[in-house]
């Protein structure tokens, strides 16, 4: 009798208690909610057996989204190879510039190592958050167990920069695309010619519609005739990003306008090479220590990447 009474009382208190708890948690500071991320990862793992195949099916059906996967034909692979060699060339050029500055200044700048070994991991996109409006993260099927860490750089199959890992869970991680409005501005370099002998610095911010926009110094004022053209490539050159990510492609210029606030500047709009929100797979560039890379290379009978 008393047991059933206490059970009834408990069931009456359960609902107000749950509501009160939710209200308290709704206002609890984010720094105290780390455990919620772990709990969420369990729930996401429970939903993913259905969500993941449906996402892949959607990306396959959606026009223009995820059409180019990493397992595409040989032509895409060869094009990717060309882009990677171009990237190495640009990074070597950047290293040359640094050494030149170093010699001139005779001072020790931060060591730039474009050949920083990386271990690429291909990960399929599981989908995004249930509430699409509040965040722009992409969940990818590679987590802490594969060595992914916060800040790991994500690209598409070639050298197109996608974004950076924000949070890592045991089985998956969350990538914030560079085109997300919540992303911080990134510094880039406009390549005025194919050899990248002439470049211009720029700072780009996401516009929210899949593009990036920002100021670039107008070289027309100093060199006569603006060499800025639609279709020119913009690469990453930002010290807030890892060395291995420098000179990855941000996108190409699709619009050039005069700056209203700065007469000596132009405003460029840059479109990434692929639809970052519609990526079916991403490549996570996981940095590895030089010692581990050398050991791996010796084991493979080759050289470290």
């Amino acid at each position: 009798m008393s047991r059933s009474l206490s059970k009834t009382r408990l069931s009456r208190l359960a609902f107000p208690g749950a509501v009160t708890l939710c209200l308290v948690l709704a206002f609890a500071p984010a720094r105290l909610m780390g455990w919620a991320g772990w709990t969420g990862s369990v729930v996401v793992a429970a939903i993913s057996p259905l969500a993941h195949p449906v996402t892949e099916f959607s990306l396959w059906l959606a026009p223009g989204k995820g059409a180019r996967t990493l397992a595409d034909d040989q032509r895409n692979r060869l094009e990717g190879e060309i882009e990677r060699y171009k990237l190495r060339y640009l990074q070597a050029q950047l290293e040359n510039e640094r050494l030149h500055d170093l010699v001139e200044q005779l001072a020790g700048a931060r060591q730039f190592n474009p050949a920083e070994p990386i271990r690429p991991i291909t990960a399929s996109v599981m989908g995004d958050a249930a509430d699409a409006s509040s965040t722009s993260i992409l969940r990818v099927r590679a987590g802490r167990s594969l060595g992914v860490t916060a800040g790991t750089v994500a690209t598409d199959g070639s050298v197109q920069l996608l974004g950076r890992v924000q949070r890592v869970f045991p089985l998956y991680s969350e990538v914030r695309p560079i085109t997300a409005q919540s992303s911080t501005p990134i510094q880039g370099r406009v390549l005025l010619d194919a050899e990248a002998t002439r470049t211009l610095e720029c700072i780009l911010e996401a516009t929210g519609d899949g593009m990036l926009r920002g100021d670039v110094e107008d070289p027309g004022e100093t060199e006569g005739g603006s060499p800025l053209e639609i279709g020119q490539r913009v690469c990453l050159k930002d010290r807030d990003w890892p060395d291995s990510a420098q000179m990855l492609t941000i996108g190409t210029i699709v619009a050039i306008e005069p700056s209203r606030d700065h007469p000596l500047r132009k405003v460029i709009t840059v479109r990434p090479g692929s639809d970052l929100r519609g990526a079916a797979e991403v490549v996570l560039r996981i940095p590895v220590t030089r010692g581990a890379a050398d050991a791996q290379a010796r084991a493979d009978g080759g050289v470290s990447p």
Binding site: L25, A26, A28, G40, I47, L59, A129, S134, R277
Partner: protein, 187 residues
């Protein structure tokens, strides 16, 4: 109501909500229809009030757990509460409105799903906006309200589709007042 059937249907709804977004969401994916809200509305239409409110709270907590909010300058956080409270109030709206609607009709599920999604969206925006005063979250209340209003209207379409799926499942849910029986009493 059989909670195991509710859990299975909710699992499918969450899977579809996340999985079908690349196909159904235009542009950058900020506007997307909900498959979970129609389930909530359907359950709230036919369950006892307390069961409906529990269902709203549970679906809200799961939505919170599978969502994230961007932090400034980097990182993301999972926040429990905003959707839970939002879905709870949405369930209460349906419970309050079900006395004056004909639950069996598809238009009822469509209209109530739009209204429930609107209520939930407004509550979520309000709670995150308050949170934005002391937490470093990336939050733009104006655009968020716009996205959620359009998403709520879009949810009407998924509610119409979900009606076709949920109606045959009425027997499996074992509601105390079965949809058809209730309609028969009204008639």
């Amino acid at each position: 109501m059989r909670w195991i059937v509710f859990a299975l249907v909710s699992w499918v709804a969450f899977g579809l909500e996340i999985g079908l977004r690349p196909l159904l969401s235009p542009g950058q994916g900020n506007i997307a229809p909900s498959f979970v809200i129609p389930v909530l509305v359907y359950v709230a239409l036919w369950s006892p009030a307390r069961t409906a409110l529990w269902a709203g709270l549970i679906l809200g907590v799961v939505t919170d757990l599978t969502s994230a909010v961007d932090l400034n300058p980097v990182g993301a956080a999972t926040v429990i509460g905003p959707h839970a409270i939002g879905y709870l109030l949405a369930a209460q709206l349906v419970v309050a409105a079900r006395g004056v609607v004909i639950g069996r009709r598809p238009v009822t599920l469509v209209v109530l799903s739009v209204l429930a999604a609107l209520v939930a969206g407004i509550v979520v925006v309000a709670l995150f906006t308050i949170r934005g005063f002391y937490d470093p979250i990336v939050w733009r209340p104006g655009s968020q309200l716009g996205f959620r209003t359009l998403s709520a209207l879009y949810t009407g379409l998924t509610a119409a589709a979900m009606y076709l799926v949920l109606t045959p499942l009425a027997g499996a849910f074992q509601f105390q007042s079965a949809p058809n029986a209730r309609f028969a009493r009204r008639a």
